[in-house]
Symmetry: C2
Subunit: 737 residues, 2 copies
């Protein structure tokens, strides 16, 4: 169960399929558009960190010069799925090796037939190497022509970010050198063809911004002609001489086989540490691997200056900007299976502390207020206004960049989790602690003292549930702020003991005076948290007074509750976009009893727009269903999450992969069904598998060691692999330690 | 004095010069970018009516596929002014024939020298034909290579409007077929090369979206090699089969000489009816021709579905949208010298009455409210918000589309003027009268009755002087509304007499009931017009209470008063962007005595930001200076207007030609210095030439006859040519008749 298949081509679904068939290597990703093009295709390659300015929405990942183009001509007729007759079509993405394969039997308008096979991968072994193989088996004698190009004329839904710089040939590699308009980032692609059949002719067309290699062959019925197109790629973010780097990487290739072999080995190592096996549920098996694959190809392995966007590197949605989606949804996969990637992603936040401090200062606060949307500079890049979807003379004000403040605590939480799970003390002392202190400073300055009720409040915010904006005392926000302040005090205490020099430095630099620490203590003690005696939490102040709607009675729906009731109308109800309170209980699980979980689960679950609300919700909902002992409900939410992109359940997969949902599905399997808990002394599992799952196996790194968990169903036994056999005892105790 | 020269190339001024050296033929215009390109160039071709959607500003003229590209290689070194050594450079625009010529002696980085000469014109004889000649005289023996392309990868300051459709060869013409993204307009360019020297090789590079012809020659020292590139062009606005049309036009070319000869003859006919001769002032002579040329190349000769944008077809400024600039500033040139062009432009407004009616209705009014900015559909396309120039998170609200309502009267005024000057009764009955009635309906419904003062008011408007917005009872607006209502009543009376069937039809269709006509009469009588006893007009209610600033004391300035004081600050002063009241007195001259002119001239002139306010102001100011007997002052304003683009006096000529200013300069010469007045029975002149002008000659059509006016200075005599010698008497009386 490693192959995502497609058996027919449906042009109406082409943008969805382009997203599904995205390939990548953590340096870049390329959507699954066809080599030869198709009318209206949305072809795109996004390279990490290659942002450029754009009106209104500030900045976006620039759609890079296209490395895909290959045109095939049968007796002068250009191959295209939009002409002639498609006699058969098949496409497959091999998740195990990151290779996309497409096979078409095509009859040209004038009746010449051939079978064409395209294979492509972005090498995980050499991030600067991209490979396409094109094999054509003609069913005629005549002319066969293959043209391979680089195309610098790419745009982001109309906006062209590129200026042509130069192009030419160097040592047999044909290159194209472009530069982003505003940010001045250079990108060079260098192309080389390898083929063994004797060519009738070879030409280089030095056409402006589309350097093209044309190779003609004498076609013979039944004789396959094969061309391998290799492309080296480098940017001025990587080196001072990207032309040289791109050329070197493409010239270093020995053969398709050797390049693929190296790629395959790199992927083997990747899956070795993170694969999940599910027996008894083929759909879940394939889908969980697909979700992990999409995160793996977006994960920066060698660059700590970038983060993963909400739509990974797979589409134009959210323009490559990063949200809390990374820290809360995607990061756990990496913290637990690939700590060096998690560290890169956290380094990105650490390096952007100046931007976060500037944002806090600009709003009259102290410390670090992380931007809701973050790109290259670390400043806030949430658009303040976007065009109204129906009336082009109107604009809609987007408030998340102003008041969805919980992200600062989310970043701190992720830094703390990384430390706790990996035990990477050096990183935590050097960078993590500062992230936690500086966000704590922000929270203390952002808290408002209410004289009447004698409490600290956070008013006019947006919580994770974005159906309700401009609310006061969102429980998630308040409780995470409290966690952030308490953790900062705890960490400072620890740091003074374990790294006193660094502690002193930070106390000085961040002005962590005794008075400030006292303020932190006062604020965290006084933060308003509304919990009823039975444990029911009010999502925000006044939530229970909003109109209660029986969501179930509105089924079946094919639109979100927000569309159904309108933005304002929905705001007035208790309907949730995602389970805000449950999310908080998930993150701070140890602070709540099972009964408290159940009370809130029972209240909020029927009020949540699971089907068309946030794609972030279902996986968390699945975990909490497991926690309250409802594995069947859990499976329903889990399967919704894991299908999000494969089945395009929300109808917007064309914009790109739902990265948070993908990260959430890994958590749902491992922490939900698997019930993994990692504590300060070790880890344990609490399996609660869906009825039809026969076996679940997952892997994670625990303090530098690979652990392999095997769970059978019913849970008669589970086998544990790993180095630390001596911890077997508490593993089977099923208790957190 | 027909040649606009450039003697050195300065890359810092390249965008200004691209505007200056725009060529065109009324079907399209092409900025003066180099055939071979230059880093950062702003190359553009705009075709009338080829609009496409764009975010935020709604619609714009799409920068068309580029017909210019020619690359020259000397022994493999690509010619560019950005490399090697430019030994000499010269560029000339011949206003008499619309031909742009550039001659460069260049030494390549490796030391090969050649003289290159490029000539180009867009045929005025055949609007669908574009021609470039490239002549290279090498000073070496070796290889010379010339590549000619069509380039579909064009954008509007980043936004690419085009989707590639197809390309190929047909009957020896190499074509490129593209389509606008949203509006689906097809554009085809078809290219053909003619050269007589024997080529060493000829290749066609069928590169995606950049079809390229490559011709190699054996270069011989001193032997000139010449290639003519012809491009046929057509759109789906012209024909159902633009490919066929583009191909036919390019294949019809016999030779460069014959194509140029036909173009030259067309230009001769053009200048024959409108040329102005000024003796004693070489700068003014060249500049007035330049200003007229820029309007002539933007004037649609065979298309009545388009209008001229504020920046003509010469730049990205205002995105090809049309304003009152056409009717009040540019149209008189055409009404008086090329009535069929004026009729096309007025037809555009007539056809867009449905859009104007929709706008009125949407605002709760009756009749036709013309949009402040107009493009293809006739709906309002003024952007409502534009990004703040300094703070990218902010937007600026643009109010002109909402409340700069005077344009509806301006359109009516132009329709009436066209009729009065040309005597084209058929058009006026068929279309013009309806324009006047329907705008009158708008004004009557827009007027607000003030119970307290018992008067009709137009509140919350912007007048021509845009330094003051949201004002009440702008005199220009109120008085033009009154004119519109009175003229509607007069015209209806006339129509009943002269075209009773049409009158009945319009009375029915536009519901011109006796009650409505009575309302018109009531409103026009009651419209509030604030004039002091000495004739001084208050520009708008409360204007005289605004802060009075001594503008002269702030000289010299290099910024506008609005930048100096800020938008709000300037609004609070009496400083004007342009002479609002004088403009009104100019349009409705016969309603004011000379003394009333003088009083207002003396008051408003020192309060007007002549240097950095509106480019629309100086030419009108010049006319009014003539009217009040100040020809020296008049010349100062005139020369400022006529230099606007040639000398880039406002620093924004790179955005395109100031079309209104260009049209105003013609009016300043003819109505200001020449003092032409056309009345119902004939015409007269009242010359008041600048001291140093020795002779002024201008031409105009009067009721189908070409009139040539000759004025010497001092005005000892003036000679009149024309058919209607019997009207000589009143011509010399110097009185309006």
């Amino acid at each position: 169960m490693w192959t995502v298949p497609e058996e027919t081509f449906n042009s109406e679904k082409q943008h969805h399929k382009e997203t599904i068939f995205t390939i990548g290597n953590g340096y870049l990703s390329t959507r699954g558009a066809f080599e030869e093009g198709y009318p209206g295709d949305s072809r795109a390659t996004f390279i990490h960190g290659v942002f450029d300015d754009v009106p209104l929405v500030f900045t976006e990942l620039a759609n890079a010069p296209d490395w895909l183009p290959i045109q095939v001509y049968l007796n002068g007729e250009r191959f295209s799925l939009a002409s002639g007759t498609v006699e058969s079509f098949e496409r497959q993405l091999d998740l195990r090796t990151g290779k996309l394969t497409r096979t078409i039997r095509w009859c040209s308008p004038t009746g010449d037939k051939a079978t064409l096979r395209f294979e492509r991968f972005a090498s995980l072994h050499d991030e600067h190497l991209l490979c396409i193989r094109c094999r054509v088996t003609p069913e005629f004698d005549g002319d066969l022509e293959i043209r391979a190009s680089l195309n610098g004329n790419m745009d982001n839904e109309g906006f062209n970010h590129w200026r042509w710089v130069e192009q030419g040939e160097r040592d047999g590699a044909y290159y194209l050198h472009n530069r982003t308009r505003a940010t001045g980032i250079d990108v060079v692609l260098a192309m080389r063809l390898i083929y063994t059949q004797a060519a009738a002719s070879f030409e280089y067309w030095d056409a402006q911004n589309v350097p093209t290699l044309r190779v003609a062959f004498a076609a013979k019925d039944g004789e396959t002609i094969s061309i391998d197109k290799f492309v080296g790629i480098a940017t001025s973010r990587d080196t001072e001489d990207p032309l040289r780097m791109a050329t070197e990487h493409v010239l270093a290739v020995q053969s398709w086989d050797s390049a693929f072999e190296a790629n395959q080995q790199a992927w083997e190592r990747e899956w070795e540490r993170c694969d999940i096996e599910i027996e008894g549920d083929e759909e879940a098996q394939l889908a969980i691997r697909f979700n992990m694959f999409q995160l793996l190809i977006a994960a920066p392995r060698h660059d700590n200056r970038v983060n993963i966007g909400a739509k990974t590197l797979s589409g134009f949605g959210y323009r490559g900007h990063s949200f809390w989606d990374t820290e809360i949804f995607m990061l756990p996969l990496f913290i637990y299976t690939a700590p060096e990637i998690a560290r890169n992603l956290l380094d990105y936040r650490y390096q952007r502390l100046p931007g976060a401090r500037q944002k806090a200062q600009g709003n009259g606060f102290e410390g670090a207020q992380f931007p809701w949307e973050s790109a290259d500079t670390g400043e806030e890049v949430t658009p303040t206004w976007v065009p109204h979807y129906a009336d082009r003379t109107k604009l809609i004000r987007i408030w998340t960049g102003d008041i969805e403040i919980h992200i600062s605590a989310d970043v701190a939480y992720a830094a703390h989790l990384y430390w706790k799970v990996t035990g990477d003390e050096a990183w935590f002392v050097e960078k993590g602690a500062e992230l936690i202190f500086d966000t704590a400073k922000f929270w203390a300055s952002r808290a408002e003292w209410d004289q009447e009720f004698e409490r600290y409040e956070f008013n006019d915010v947006i919580g994770p549930d974005e159906y309700h904006d401009h609310v006061d005392n969102n429980f998630y926000t308040n409780r995470m702020a409290k966690w952030n302040l308490q953790t900062a005090l705890d960490v400072l205490k620890w740091l003074k003991e374990h790294a006193p020099v660094k502690a002193d430095e930070l106390i000085q630099r961040l002005e962590l005076s005794p008075e400030r620490l006292q303020t932190w203590q006062d604020v965290l003690t006084g933060i308003y948290l509304s919990v009823r005696s039975n444990g029911l939490i009010e999502q925000f102040e006044g939530y229970f007074q909003r109109r209660d709607v029986d969501l179930a009675s509105l089924e079946p729906r094919d639109i979100s509750a927000q569309v159904l009731f309108g933005i304002e109308g929905c705001n007035e109800t208790q309907i949730l976009k995602q389970p805000d309170v449950l999310m908080l209980q998930y993150l701070l699980r140890e602070n709540f009893t099972d009964e408290q979980l159940r009370v809130n689960y029972d209240y909020y679950t029927p009020r949540t727009d699971h089907t068309f609300g946030s794609s972030l919700g279902p996986s968390i909902q699945a975990i909490m269903a497991c926690e309250v002992g409802k594995p069947d409900d859990a499976y329903e939410h889990f399967i919704r999450a894991v299908r999000a992109d494969l089945r395009d359940v929300r109808g917007n997969a064309s914009d790109g992969i739902h990265g948070a949902s993908a990260g959430g599905t890994w958590q749902a399997v491992v922490f939900g069904f698997g019930g993994l808990r990692v504590g300060s002394q070790g880890w344990s599992t609490h399996p609660r598998l869906p009825k039809h799952w026969k076996r679940l196996s997952f892997r994670f790194m625990h303090r530098g060691q690979l652990e392999v968990v095997e769970i059978t169903n019913p849970v008669l036994s589970y086998k544990l692999q790993g180095q630390h056999r001596d911890r077997d005892e508490f593993r089977t105790r099923g208790l957190e330690v």
